[in-house]
């Protein structure tokens, strides 16, 4: 009896090797049902992490676009902002032969091999919010120019602090493309002469995790008792920082600004501890990303500079250099307009 199953087991292994050996290396065994054209729009969104209200808002935009284009929409992703888990999901989606993957990257390079394999199978790749290596995607939907975002953050905080004091940055994942682009411009803005009374003492990485960001803020307040302001260009980070500052009764004494969602920040805008913060409309970002992906799948664009495509209610969009499509300028939220938004 034992021998029989041992032989079965060995036989299974041999079978596996034979099967894999006999199939020619590389692509398409049924991989090209993706360019079926027309109504086959099986598009999947892969955000940095899925339990994040900002990405949920973007997904809603994508769903709207799917309804308008009569395509299908689904969102998958890891529960923590992990690049290797995103790779696993990319492989899953590749094996499912979706038509397009719309991804926001935790790490621009780690996702590249898997994305390139997907593209090799005929799947279109659009990045949004946080870019991947340019040769691993066809189009990148950029929410706002990183320069605008970076500089506005520093300008807002500088004005609140009267241009003096120590500040810190509470970021997301240390490898996140968008974060590093913005931080680069923040540092450049800070180097201008009008900010010479301010100094950047630390950049903390909260990994888009609420608990980590909360503790990071507490740590910052402890380690730098003279800290006057924090910039947190991540909606998870700014929400956690606001609560952390409040929990040690420093609301109003330590200035906070960054990128946040109106629903999470409404209380702090109204009580004055976070007078201003910025964002864009993530719903529009998702909406535009879906339309771009659909246009690629339908063969209307290939990602080259100068091509145009129709993006529903957003009108016609033109692809810029490096396959980048800009959504628009960032929105600044404060007491006057915060009640107009619900996300």
């Amino acid at each position: 009896m034992n021998k029989l199953f041992h032989t079965l087991g060995l036989g299974f292994m041999v079978l596996l090797v034979v099967v894999l050996a006999s199939c020619g290396g590389g692509s398409s065994t049924g991989g090209s049902n993706s360019s079926g054209g027309g109504n086959n729009l099986n598009i999947a969104f892969l955000p940095k992490a899925i339990n994040n209200p900002y990405f949920d808002a973007a997904a809603n935009g994508g769903k709207t676009a799917a309804g308008e284009t009569k395509g299908s929409f689904k969102q998958v992703g890891p529960s923590t902002a992990s690049a290797s888990e995103q790779v696993t999901w990319i492989n899953n989606l590749t094996e499912q032969h979706v038509n397009a993957i719309v991804v926001s990257a935790n790490d621009p390079n780690a996702l590249a091999p898997a994305l390139k394999q997907a593209m090799g199978q005929g799947i279109k790749v659009v990045s949004y919010d946080s870019d991947v290596a340019p040769d691993a995607r066809q189009v990148f939907i950029q929410q706002a120019s990183p320069e605008d975002i970076g500089r506005i953050e520093v300008q807002v905080l500088g004005k609140e602090l009267n241009y003096t004091g120590q500040i810190a940055i509470l970021s997301a994942a240390s490898t996140a493309t968008n974060q590093n682009a913005w931080i680069g411009f923040m540092k450049d803005e800070l180097s201008k002469s009008q900010y010479k009374g301010m100094s950047l003492v630390k950049i903390a990485y909260g990994n888009d995790d609420d608990q980590t960001s909360f503790n990071d803020t507490l740590n910052l307040l402890q380690a730098y008792p003279n800290l006057k302001g924090i910039i947190s260009p991540t909606s998870v980070g700014i929400a956690a920082a606001a609560r952390a500052i409040e929990s040690v009764n420093k609301g109003g004494k330590v200035a906070l600004t960054g990128l946040g969602t109106p629903n999470q920040m409404r209380k702090y805008v109204k009580d004055g501890s976070v007078p201003q913060f910025a964002l864009w409309d993530p719903g529009k970002l998702g909406y535009l990303a879906y339309y771009a992906a659909a246009a690629l799948v339908q063969g209307k664009i290939t990602g080259k500079q100068g091509e145009t495509f129709s993006a529903g209610t957003l009108g016609t969009k033109t692809i810029g250099a490096n396959g980048v499509v800009l959504l628009g300028p960032p929105t600044v939220f404060d007491k006057t307009n915060i009640d107009q938004f619900n996300f």
């Binding site: 890891p78 529960s79 290797s84």
Partner: protein, 332 residues
Amino acid sequence: MKQLRTLLSSWDALLVVLLLLAIILGTTLSPYFLTPFNVASLTKDLMEKAIMALPMTLIIIAGEIDLSVASTLGLASVVLGVTWNAGVPLWLGMVLVLIIGVAAGALNGLLVTRLGLPSLVVTLGTLALYRGLAYVVLKDQAVSNFPAAFTNFGFGSVPGTLIPWPFVVFLILALVFLGVLQWSWLGRQIYAVGNSKEAARFAGIRVANLKLGLFMLSGLLAALAGIIFTARFSSARPDNALGFELDVITIVLLGGVNIFGGRGTLIGVILSLFVIGAVRNALGLANISGDIQNIVVGSLLIFSVLGPNVAQSIREVLTHRRLAVGGVTKKE
């Protein structure tokens, strides 16, 4: 003895059934499950765990356990990234990493054999320590600019076929381990130690040295898995392979290796390897996230020990009932 053999062979039968069930699950959930491309992909995802499962089998048969394998993998990956970034040639970095793996295993082995500490707690501590060291070395950075040849080794296949390169590595290792465990004197020593440490020692087996060697082997192979993982993802990060130890231990226990030591075969482990791999792949194709997949794997882990216990209890109850009915008393 005969009852033992029937129990063992019925476990192998169960594994075959489970594998078939997993395949059925896969084909039901997705038409792409049985395509060669997917099978190759499934295999690729499995190889690091497979390589670590080989020495884990020997360790558990010998009556110990090693929870730190995934952390050793992570540490190895990170060191490889750091050395590569610093300009050290990749082959030298790999050698260094393998040495670190052996050292990590040696620490585990020494604490267990020389100080008599339970391997459970020691490897729980080193699980934290090695993962922690990985974070210290690389902070939360990542190294991703590895050369294409290296990435191809992890991600690509033998030219002209779909056989992933890491699978070739695993096959060679599996054959070696199979030979050692089933047909060599070393293998018999391992079984003996697992069955009774004291009896083994009286038979002249150097138990401490054997166990130390097994832990060092586990560390070595975990480091090798780290190299492969890094190549496959083209990325060295401290959180690489976080949580892999669950799968590795489940694979070994589900493969029929007894947690208390002394029993189990590599063939069973290899079968259960593909059961776990197929289940995860099938669920992934249905867009079921890793967290939910873990419910299945965690349950399989518990079942792999609970099942035989329950089976044994039932067997005992039936035997007693048979004896009572038959009026046979156990007077010898």
